[in-house]
Symmetry: C2
Subunit: 245 residues, 2 copies
Amino acid sequence: MSDGTKADDIALALEEAIVSGEIPPGSVLRQEHLSEQFAVSRTPVREALRRLAALGLVTFEPNRGVRVRSLSREELREAFLVRAELESLATEIAATRMTDEDLAALENAEVRFSDLTRRLVEASHAGRQDLELAREWLHANHSFHDVIYAAAQSPLVERMAKAARRTFLVKPFWATGADLDELFEKNDHQHRAIREAIAARSPEGARVLAREHVLSSGRLLEAILDKVAAQAPERAPAGGVGYRL
Amino acid sequence: MSDGTKADDIALALEEAIVSGEIPPGSVLRQEHLSEQFAVSRTPVREALRRLAALGLVTFEPNRGVRVRSLSREELREAFLVRAELESLATEIAATRMTDEDLAALENAEVRFSDLTRRLVEASHAGRQDLELAREWLHANHSFHDVIYAAAQSPLVERMAKAARRTFLVKPFWATGADLDELFEKNDHQHRAIREAIAARSPEGARVLAREHVLSSGRLLEAILDKVAAQAPERAPAGGVGYRL
DNA sequence: CCTCCAGTTATTGTGTCCAATACAGAACGC
DNA sequence: GCGTTCTGTATTGGACACAATAACTGGAGG
């Protein structure tokens, strides 16, 4: 428990758990269960849930409980559109303010992500479903963009961009295929292109590259989902698909 | 009280009151006061406040109460940058989906806003500080863009754009000056340009016009604030300026 | 006159209790 | 046999009570 109020701590913990996929979309969260899990009363739990509801991560169904939201295909696409806009903005700003240290950090994040991408693709081809690896991969991706946010020094932009990004989660990275490999690789290379544009102090260039990168990520995700849907018919949880990126 | 849970009703009411400026930025909200005002216990009040906190409208200062946030100049600028991005996106999408009825509604909103702008400028020149008029003006402006959001049929985009827009409030529209008149007029004309681009089914055109429009609104606001600051030295509430337009 | 300190008070944070609502399943009528 | 209503139970929504923390008063000492 880091800061003052328990409601905030719980909200943070739940947010993490939901975004990381530990709590799958569609789940219903029982207040009493959470309260004993966190060893507090129901009151702070409910306040935390209210916060998550305001963030759009869960929905209150009055007198029925709260349910972790699952995104429809359309919402997913929208989220990437929003992220594309906000990322371009952040990247453009960052390109004008980035220090050499920031650039070094960016390069670090880039190679780390590159490495994880390779390993993830290999694992997929080998049929291994390494959830931890997928989480790391996603985390490394976020880290790259986080460096950019930090350099942009624009708290509001950062907050909203991350809100759009938070709409996603890890589930199914286990589809394989030549086209997917290509998309993964493209996605990876784009990081380098963005970094170089920033290093060259080209805000406009970095902007369009960032935009294209995010949109491209969206296409990658959709391709993965298509593959997975084709491979595994899988019981479809009614109302909103079960993935959450 | 419209819907099921009281916390939501209260949150809505408070949100409206804050955004409309009825509750000025910097105020501290006493839970007990609110609870008797809404004739409920403190519990739903607190939940409502948690929601507002998640939306960024208020901040919890542990054991000290909640305070209505006031925006710094920098945050204000950021909010307009974000809005510019999201509005362009929404407008671009809307341009591809807008029906003739939507276009008619858009034109309605346009002339209404035009009318109110004229009246507002006149009132300013006459030295009248008609708060109600200012509210109407702002509301009409929002209505115009709301038509676009509705046509875009992109709930997430709409939600986030409105979140950025909600960061604003009415306070000081009473500064006058030739340059301000010009900016007001420009702002007004831009609505027409946007509508015409949409009517011409030019998503790209509408996009850049929308972007420029929002940025231009931001400049208008900053100009107003400058004028007001110059005219009235005014006691500066410490930490974050008192405006929240 | 100012500063520091302690006791008091006001206000928030949390736990507990009760009422209201929704779902499950049995009893009942057709 | 099937649908309907009733009742029981689980779970939420809200009220209230208590504990914890921070502001506020007043006074003592320098």
